[in-house]
Amino acid sequence: MRQEYHPLAWLAWATAAAAIALMTLNPLYLTLLALAVLANYRVISLRSPTARQWGAFLKAGLLIWAITIPFNALMSHHGRYVLFRLPANWPLVGGAITLEAIAYGFARGLSLVLLLMIFATFNSAVDTARLLRRMPAFLYLAGMITSIALAFVPQMISALQEIREAQRVRGHRFRTIRDLLPLIMPLLTTGLERAIQLAESMEARGFGGSAASISRSLNYILKGMTLAGLLALLAGMFARSYWSRQAWIGILLSAGGLLLMTAAFWVQGRRVRRSRYRHELWLSRDTLMVACGAAAAAGILIARALNRAALFYYPYPPYSVWPAFDWRLGLLYALFMAPAWLLPPARAAQPKQLPLPR
């Protein structure tokens, strides 16, 4: 599977786009950004085998949006532009239906859909498992575990289906939570049995084999460090919520914990002697794509720093329901379309393999 862009380029693009999407509620800018992201999604989904799943995910997002708008209009009755009135004696929904309320629902919903779209585009474009395996050496083990877990999910879903059928043909009816036991128990044992086989198969292929051996005492020290780090991190989180006055105690604890854990992982990672098969090439268009995303994000941030109100939008009085628009800012939002622009014309996606009934 050839990837159109380097995964790290996609990561940079998605981070920039998501950060920018969170900074405004201005429906014009949001729409512009949404169109740019949609263009990328369209281009990518033609080439990605996983895009189909994300299509359904996006549809769910659109549905939520479609519900948000009337919901907000019925619940919020502020505003100058009254479209019509519902009888005041209707509970909750009674009163003025205003343009402001509709605009607010539209903008809120759009910003949510936009985030989903960025997420879907990123996931269709990048093989997550492969990205995880690109973890720096000291996080290698964590990345490996996560990628195995991801590969396990589709297997477990099909096992679940099989078990559900098997229990139904025994006359079992799933009505209450307790009835789930015959579903969960075989699933757990099946998962465990498979995990043991997988461990065997990995070990037989030399997994973790060429790590330089370490002394027993260093091993204990490393384990102790990891544990202490984890505890400090948790204690820090608790401390922050309990003594909000002295926030620095919590922050210090958390930071210390993170540092300890990173150090332990780093020492362990140094022992792993292994090579990587995948080396995605960083092409000039990757640089261009990242440059476009970075330029757009930087430009928008600068505009905001110069004029605090540049991105501000709030439809209810005393502010205006009509969003402001600056064409220079608009151009910057449109720059997020770069990935779709820079690609050569798409080939048609290969027909998806149909699952055969077993």
Partner: protein, 550 residues
């Protein structure tokens, strides 16, 4: 290449050794077939070769093992990885990543090989196993046979000298299994790879093997020798070899080709004519049974899985009378499982009608239908979850609102008396299969549906399953099973229905259908081409007693 000297091994917390004083020598480039009943210690023996035993499983180990001069007990599986490739039974559970190419790279990444070397080896292995077309595919989208090809490829990238495979084909259908075995034979011939393969399907591999290692039971000394010599000692063998042993054909023939001259000399071979095949196909399926005694009545059933374009069933007409034993055959994806699921209501026809014991499946829930129809799914592991087998049976009865009843006859018929209080998941494959049967059949359904009941079973287990099913039929039950196992069909079924692309291609009496078919016929039938003879028993029954001395 591989040398065992007085090797003994005890699993943790076990008093009796699985291996006791095992000594054996395997030369470089040999193809050794490892046979023996389930649970006899085949897997244990194979796992000593790469150090998985004792490193992964613990326990007590005695004696010495040497593989190409190295000591697996000292080095462990990681240290042996470059020398011994190990492939496991379950094609579902041995993959680390989701893309074929990355999976092939995994072992090499662990050894820290350079990218250029990895590229070269991956190209070579893809061509060696002829799976270049799979390289970009996701592993979850592959068939079982393709997965096993990838599993073999993923250990070959390290260019091991020894390849060890633990029942790699037991979860595959015959065609896929045959492809995997052909690949192994090619690797052995072309690369001189030493191969140890444990396998139940002797009829497929016996002729490729240089020697056979027979592991009779835990703690018993294994025997290593030429195929014909070992097979002459073993009691449960493929029908062809059983027949040859009974008729005292020497030297023992391992293939149809080798056996035919003997059969011809004995005057047993018959030449079927084209007419036989034509008459079979012209004859309409038996429709004479009166409507009220039909166990199953499918009328013009169509079904398409959601999200697919091709119908999985296209206008199926199938009528099964009470007390019939029908075998559904056909390649993978031909609609066998889909058809069975219609008979229990798990799937409902999009067009047409399905009546089971007179009940329309659209008017009843699966849970209600399960009172009359027992459906045994392919994987017994999906079913069993209680602490003991007895609780499993009570669970099914309770689901149907029935009081605990005397089920000792069923338990005895399945040979499960010793296991009633055991944890079902600890049972062997064959016992698990029977436990699942008991858990379904305890409500005494009139119709029994079986989906691939012999998957993963060895000869004795198949034999006992066949005996049990014949007993159920004798009690008047209707049985419909989907299977690839021609020998089981030859032994039990009255009628064979062959599906292709969701349609009924052939429907007729088992003897007629099997005799006129090239693939769907039993070994004995392939040898003799006579519709009177499907099994060894048929041949012996038709012979004057003087010639037979079992």
């Amino acid at each position: 290449m591989i040398h065992f000297r007085r090797v003994s091994y005890w699993y943790p917390e076990s008093q009796e050794p699985v291996l006791r004083d095992v000594s054996l020598d395997i030369e470089e480039g040999e193809f050794v077939l490892v046979i023996g009943p389930s649970g006899s210690g085949k897997s244990t023996l194979l796992r000593c070769i790469n150090g998985m035993i004792p490193h992964f499983y613990g326990g007590t180990f005695a004696g010495t093992v040497r593989v190409a001069g190295l000591d697996p007990v000292e080095l462990g599986p990681k240290g042996m990885a470059h020398l011994v490739g190990f492939v496991l039974q379950d094609p579902e559970a041995q993959f680390v990543v989701d893309t074929v190419e990355d999976e092939l790279a995994f072992a090499m990444e662990n050894q820290g090989l350079s990218i250029t070397l990895m590229r070269k080896r991956i190209e070579e292995v893809l061509d060696q196993l002829s799976i270049a077309h799979l390289r970009h595919r996701r592993i979850s989208s592959l068939s079982g046979g393709e997965k096993q090809h990838v599993a073999i490829a993923s250990v070959l990238t390290l260019q091991p000298k020894v390849l060890v495979l633990d029942e790699p084909t037991s979860q595959l259908d015959p065609q896929a299994a045959e492809e995997v075995l052909t690949v192994l034979q090619k690797l052995n011939e072309d690369l001189g790879l030493t191969i140890l393969l444990s396998e139940h399907r002797l009829e497929r591999v016996a002729q490729y093997a240089d020697r056979i290692l027979w592991v009779p039971a835990p703690g018993q000394p294994p025997a290593l020798g030429a195929p014909a010599e070992i097979l002459a000692q073993v009691d449960l063998t493929p029908p062809l070899i059983t027949l040859a042993k009974v008729l005292k054909w020497q030297p023992l023939p391992l293939t149809i080709k080798q056996a035919r001259p003997f059969a011809r000399r004995a005057g047993l071979v018959r030449e079927p004519s084209l007419q036989d095949e034509e008459t079979l196909l012209r004859r309409r399926p038996a429709n004479s049974a009166p409507q009220d005694s039909l166990a199953v009545d499918m009328r013009d059933v169509w079904y398409t899985y959601p999200g697919t374009d091709q119908p999985a069933l296209r206008g199926i007409h199938l009528q099964v009378a009470e007390g019939e034993f029908v075998a559904l055959m056909g390649r993978n994806g031909s609609g066998k499982s889909t058809l069975l699921k219609h008979l229990i209501g798990l799937l409902q026809p999009q067009r047409g009608q399905v009546l089971v014991a007179g009940h329309d499946t659209r008017r009843h829930s699966v849970e209600e239908l399960a009172r009359w129809v027992g459906y045994v799914p392919q994987n017994p592991g999906a079913l069993l979850f209680q602490d003991t087998l007895r609780q499993e049976l009570e669970f099914t009865l309770r689901n149907h609102g029935l009081a605990p009843r005397d089920d000792s006859a069923l338990i005895r018929a399945l040979g499960l008396e010793p296991h009633l209080e055991r944890y079902p998941r600890d049972l062997s494959v064959g016992e698990r299969q029977r436990a699942a049967l008991a858990a379904i059949l305890v409500v005494e359904p009139q119709v029994i549906l079986l989906d691939e009941p012999t998957r993963g079973l060895d000869y004795p287990q198949k034999r006992s399953l066949a005996g049990f099913l014949k007993g159920q039929k004798a009690q008047g039950r209707t049985i419909i099973m989907s299977t690839h196992d021609v020998e089981l069909v030859a032994e039990c079924a009255d009628r064979v229905v062959i599906l292709g692309e969701g349609e009924v291609i052939v429907d007729g009496p088992a003897r007629k259908v099997m005799t006129s078919s090239m693939i769907f016929s039993s070994q004995v039938n392939k040898l003799l081409r006579d519709d009177r003879f499907l099994t060894v028993e048929d041949v012996l029954a038709g012979m004057p007693p003087a010639e037979v001395t079992p």
